[in-house]
């Protein structure tokens, strides 16, 4: 059985891992896993398998929802950030929802900070393996059964009948503010608090189950701010001129997608090279539209941007592409 430190060491060793060619999801991790697909959870599996932690990790996963559910089924799942530690596997939902079914992404917790942020080690973030600092869009975490794993927190992150403590006090205070519930703030989740939670859930269109979890908490945060729907993350505006750095990241990909749209494609400018973007690029370059960026497509791209036609999409190809995108001549 492996350890937390062993798992983290394996994850750190992956920092800097990219995709070849960019946007292909192809690298040592997906090769090891068995197919080129979204590789955030494959990275977790890779780290676990190389640190004797695969069984502790509940096995080998590519599908984040199934992985989170496996932790839940094993009694090793916790909603929200409460009680989170290094080595925990943290799951994200970029829409700001709080349910396992909405999970989009996963990372490994390297460090925990008292301001409520965490440092993570993540695969497939901006098409690379990178270290991130996160605090938002977190659904919850699973605690692998490492050989040196700490015990799970005393709750699963939900407040329900018979829950006690400071979180219940805060809930009661908030219910009194938002719903004028008139609850005694005693930290005891009794029938009156449960009724108030149900009333709150009904008013704000939530499932009235009397259990206060992440979705209810997100709605409470919005209600306290005078809003009637959860406060969802808003996208940042796009940047302007691309840095000609040879790095094919989301900004370059987004600029490419915008250029392809000017040539008649109808792509969502999401900064990710998926099959639709790949096909649009292939159509523009006049090669077979199979959705896979292989040597033929890369050579056609290199011809288009004036790079050496070796079929290998490297930094020079990207730099020339960035230059043309900036000039509006791609």
């Amino acid at each position: 059985m492996g350890t937390v430190a062993g798992m983290l060491a394996q994850a750190r060793a992956l920092l800097g891992t990219t995709e070849h060619p960019p946007g292909s999801n192809h690298n040592l991790i997906t090769t090891w896993y068995g197919f080129d697909g979204a590789w955030c959870d494959m990275s977790i599996s890779y780290e676990a398998a190389h640190s004797d932690n695969l069984s502790a990790m509940m096995g080998k996963f590519a599908y984040t929802v199934a992985h989170a559910q496996a932790f839940k089924n094993a009694g090793r799942w916790h909603y929200g950030l409460g009680g989170i530690r290094p080595g925990d596997v943290v799951f994200f939902d970029w829409s700001g929802g709080g349910s396992i079914s909405g999970i989009d992404h996963v990372g490994l917790v390297e460090a925990v900070h008292s301001n409520g942020s965490i440092t993570t080690l993540e695969g497939n973030t901006s098409d690379e393996f990178r270290r991130r600092v996160r605090s938002a869009c977190i659904v919850g975490y699973g605690r692998p059964a490492y050989g040196d794993a700490k015990p799970m927190p005393s709750t699963d992150g939900m407040l329900r009948l018979n829950s006690t403590g400071n979180a219940v006090r805060k809930l009661q205070t908030n219910l009194n503010t938002v719903m004028k519930s008139g609850l005694t703030v005693d930290g005891q989740f009794g029938p009156l608090t449960q009724s108030a939670v149900i009333a709150f859930q009904k008013r704000y269109g939530l499932e009235p189950d009397g259990i206060y979890g992440p979705q209810s908490a997100a709605m409470m945060k919005a209600a306290l701010a005078g809003k009637t729907t959860p406060i969802k993350p808003k996208p940042k505006p796009p940047t302007g001129t691309l840095a000609v750095d040879g790095q094919f990241g989301p900004a370059t990909c987004a600029a490419l997608q915008r250029a392809l749209n000017r040539h008649g494609a109808s792509l969502d400018v999401d900064g990710t090279m998926g099959p639709l973007t790949n096909r649009a690029l292939q159509k523009y370059l006049g090669v077979s539209q199979d959705g896979i960026i292989g040597p033929v497509t890369v050579r056609a791209l290199q011809k288009k941007v004036g790079a050496t036609q070796d079929g290998d999409w490297g930094p020079d190809t990207t730099r020339r592409l960035q230059t043309k995108l900036n000039a509006g001549t791609f």
């Binding site: 080998k60 992404h105 270290r131 993350p233």
Partner: protein, 88 residues
Amino acid sequence: MKRRNLLAAAAAGGIGAVLVASGANAGTIFADGSATAVANPALAADDTVEPQGGAGLFDVDLDQAGVSQSPDVVVTGDVSVLSEDWGF
């Protein structure tokens, strides 16, 4: 244009949720949020997301400047665990 955050998720990072199977024999499945969003009308209500590049895409994302990407650096926090009541 109307789109949805799932698209941004693809840009922000690994979007495991668009995979429909797990396991090494699941076949070649790509993470293109476009197809998923089109297939699900519930996802068509939000605004188009355009990535800023590098760090996260959302107004709630923390600044990633100064975050070391060196595999030789070990990041440690100022606490070993967050309070169980955190988030409520």
